[in-house]
């Protein structure tokens, strides 16, 4: 939390280049010495529709979107459907401006493209401007771009105008454009940037408003990464060289990053017929001795239930990732939610024998992607990385040195041919791949093609050499051994320090959350303590095996705790109660499931209004569910 922060929002239609423009601008802000965090909002539409990206920049580290924002760059939506009052979509043309006003802070700045947007179409626009002390700068961005190059370059004109109005040095933007654009496009863009910049300074007094770019300095080189980048790089650094998948938003991001990069590393990416094949291929590749992954979002992951169970039963190491979006069914494809938690924990028949990790930040996404591979291969078990559209798409600056780590391509307990000769075999030479008595429950494996290692992998219950075996004693021994691994993994995870504590060590109240809401909760905790409350928070990453002792200790240390999650049925709270078996009377829920992630203020509201005051929520976008017995 700092007094001076820029929260810049660029809005337009899908296909207008909002994503690439904002990414470059975020990088420019990062290079200027600031910490940045991005939040994006977009529809499931190829062209048009209300979309925006928000960049929060501050001299201090930022880990969440802010409450509202203070600078709007409203471009036109080139693909807006014709304005029709009665149509469900209303007047789309004016949405880049009209849809963004509610969250603009008092004293905020509005730059809009007067070539495309007409505020007279927005009810009470002038009154609202006056009431909120907004500073409005209409600019013909489209016209400007057209004069120098092409209309599509109006984004650049908008960035130039932004620089002029917030007192930002253009150089960082120019450098980035030079890096990112081919010469032919770079020249006219540069021209447009400069012209827009100069024209704003000539025509307006940029000191009329208080929104300025903060100044900061990094003490080491930073990189700007999304959660999807971080997950992909974690996989690569853990020696993953095989991915199979089928496109589905928002998982497609990881799939495309891996597919783009794997050939350079001599790896293989396969786009296949469906998600059943995708997960089955990851299992097949891993069985044949390659570190492999697959993944999808909710609907595609449902198809992976079968191969997931097969990996559990055959003890084939594999990493699957699940990028959650709002469900059920097709739900809201581009909107975040955390409601696939139970789906991922329990899908597929039989007792779950898997690991589920839910990273909370971009850094954790990298670390836990690596951890998922490490655990999957060391313990021969499927490991699932559960994240969502929010974490996958948000970008954050991270010190480059964070990634300066040793790679690890270790296959885990896998025997060489020489080692295989010392292992038990059937009299005719079949390797005992699934030995009842194995350290930590992990029976070492062989790889097809190795001499002395042949065995049968099967989804049926099986004896030591893999042959189908329904003897009750064998069944009990095998399932006990497979489940024992989860206990050992729990101990392993305890050393990996995957849970995140926020706020003071001692506090009266607690907040519990998981996954992508962690950064927002961290921010809310700071606000709450600054407001005089005594609150700490725990961000849980290990969904299975659950860190029961750690969570229990946290809950026991506070008078009451609020569980914050993006589900409608309180799945995470249910998971806590299932594992703890008590303390239900201490846990209330704050839920959000309208397609948008929590804002810090909504958590502050949930806490202050209900937990502290015992009143109703101020916010209509969240839902409070009281503790059991209340």
């Amino acid at each position: 939390m700092t007094d001076n922060e820029l929260i810049w929002r660029i809005s337009g239609g899908s296909g207008d280049g909002i994503a690439s423009t904002s990414q470059n601008f975020a990088k420019a802000l990062m290079r200027s010495g600031l910490h940045v965090f991005t939040h994006r909002h977009y529809p499931s539409r190829i062209r048009g529709g209300h979309t925006y990206t928000e960049i929060r920049a501050s001299a201090e580290p930022v880990r969440s979107r802010g409450d509202g924002y203070n600078f709007l760059l409203a471009l036109g939506d080139s693909f807006a459907r014709n304005p029709q009052e009665n149509a469900v979509y209303g007047n789309e043309e004016v949405k880049p401006l009209s849809e963004n006003l509610d969250e603009l802070r008092e004293g905020g700045v509005i730059v809009y493209d007067e070539g495309l947007l007409d505020p007279s179409d927005i009810p009470d626009f002038d009154e609202r401007v006056e009431e909120n002390d907004w500073h409005v700068y209409p600019l013909d961005l489209r016209g400007l771009a057209r004069e120098q190059g092409r209309e599509v370059m109006r984004n650049t004109a908008g960035v130039g105008a932004t620089c002029a109005l917030i007192g930002m040095n253009r150089e960082h933007v120019e450098d980035l454009m030079r890096d990112a654009m081919p010469e032919k496009i770079f020249e006219p863009n540069l021209e447009i940037l400069e012209t827009a910049y100069e024209s704003v300074l000539e025509n307006y007094d940029a000191d009329a408003h208080d929104v300025t770019v903060p100044s900061g300095e990094h003490d080491e080189q930073q990189v700007l990464l999304s959660g999807s980048d971080a997950i992909s790089y974690g996989a690569i650094d853990e020696g993953c060289r095989f991915i199979a998948g089928y496109p589905m938003t928002p998982w497609t991001e990881v799939f495309t990053i891996m597919t783009k990069n794997l050939p350079e590393l001599g790896g293989i990416s396969e786009q296949v017929e469906d998600e059943i094949a995708a997960a089955a291929m990851a299992v097949g590749a891993s069985h044949a001795g390659v570190k492999a992954m697959s993944g999808s979002s909710g609907g595609g992951f449902a198809l992976m239930s079968e191969p997931l169970g097969l990996a559990e039963m055959t003890e084939t190491p594999v990493v699957l990732i699940e990028a959650m979006r709002a469900g059920p069914s097709t739900g809201m494809p581009t909107k975040p939610e955390q409601s696939d938690l139970e789906h991922v924990l329990y899908t597929s028949q039989g007792d779950s024998q898997r690991v589920v990790l839910a990273p909370g930040t971009v850094e954790e996404a990298y670390e836990q992607s690596r951890l998922a591979f490490e655990i999957a291969y060391e313990y021969q078990i499927p490991a699932i990385l559960l994240y969502d559209q929010k974490l996958g798409g948000e970008m954050l600056n991270v010190p480059k040195s964070h990634f300066d780590r040793e790679p690890n391509a270790d296959l885990g307990k896998t025997l060489s041919e020489a080692q295989l000769t010392e292992q038990p075999h059937t009299p005719d030479g079949k390797f005992h791949r699934f030995q009842h008595e194995a350290d930590d429950g992990v029976s070492p494996r062989s790889i097809p093609g190795q001499k002395g290692g042949r065995y049968l992998a099967t989804g049926n219950e099986h004896g030591p050499s893999g042959h189908i075996n329904e003897d009750p004693d064998n069944r009990t021994a095998q399932i006990d051994r497979r489940l024992e691994k989860l206990e050992v993994i729990r101990e392993h995870l305890d050393t990996a320090d995957t849970q995140t504590y926020m706020g003071p060590e001692e506090a009266e109240y607690g907040i519990l959350t998981f996954g992508s809401q962690q950064g927002t909760v961290a921010e809310a905790v700071d606000v709450l303590n600054a407001n005089g409350h005594s609150v700490k928070a725990l961000g849980v990453s290990d969904m299975l095996p659950f860190p029961t002792a750690e969570v229990e200790a946290f809950i026991e240390s506070v008078d009451a705790a609020l569980v914050v999650e993006m589900t409608a049925s309180g799945q995470f709270r249910g998971l806590i109660q299932k594992n703890l078996g008590r303390h239900g009377e201490k846990l209330s829920s704050l839920l959000k499931y309208n397609g948008n992630p929590f804002e810090p203020a909504e958590i502050v509201d949930g806490f202050e209004s209900v937990v502290v005051e015992g009143d109703d929520l101020d916010s209509s976008t969240t839902t409070f569910v009281p503790a059991a017995g209340d």
Partner: protein
Amino acid sequence: MSAFSAIGEEREIDRDEYTPGVEPQPTWCPGCGDFGVLKALKQALPEVGRTPEETLLCTGIGCSGKLNSYLDSYGFHTLHGRSLPVARAAKLANPGLEVIAAGGDGDGYGIGGNHFTHTARENHDMTYIVFNNEIFGLTKGQTSPTSPKGHKSKTQPHGSAKEPVKPLSLSLNAGASYVARTAAVNPNQAKEILIEAMEHDGFAHVDFLTQCPTWNKDARQYVPYIDVNDSDDYEFDVTDRVEAAEMMRTTEEALYKGEVLTGRFYVDEERPSYQQEKQAIGEMPDEPLAERYWDDDYEWERSYDHFLDKHA
């Protein structure tokens, strides 16, 4: 040095090596056609010089899926209909392996039909044996995708209203580069066809007629058979798509009139395998990926060195 010394090993191979001591005797019903597949495979594997430990046999679920309980090799008894994606990924991971997939007609042409279509389309270098008995056996006699129209069973009590799947035509249209049909009652031809299929560099699909004496009653249903490549009654060029398609159509219709036509129907030796296609566009390494994990000198790449600068 390879970490997989069974691959490419040159030695005499005894047929008995493929009989597992754990389950030397299959549990199939007496007279079942599945015995014919097992026997033909045990004969064909030594002929192509593939030992149990350089062979990966991936099966589906059903009576046919028990094949790798009774054939000793590296085995992966997968899921109903999913043997192909598991098998083709293993082949991509380690192309030195002899990869064979096998399953029944419900497994391959029903629940796994999508995988069958796409594996054929991609022309993975592997052999796919479909035990086609025109019935669901292990679940006790339900109508299957290849059961004839009008077939009565507990799940189709009024007789199936569906035309059966035409597996050979389906395979050809999907893109398989070797398509054959053989029968358990024709062991010599079966062995020869399996040898050809394994030696073929591409997706070789063998529709293997395996009579079900328990649920289809007539253990002699695929007798007598005619080898279309030897018969004077049929003349066509197995390398010609159009002629192959016509011959397949004739064969598929004849089966339901009691005439069993077998043999090679389509052979395309020119089409590159999927591995070759993938390597040609730089999407697959020349050295088997599986070997890399055993190479102590390999310098594993890091994202830090390769990709992070573009994020700075």
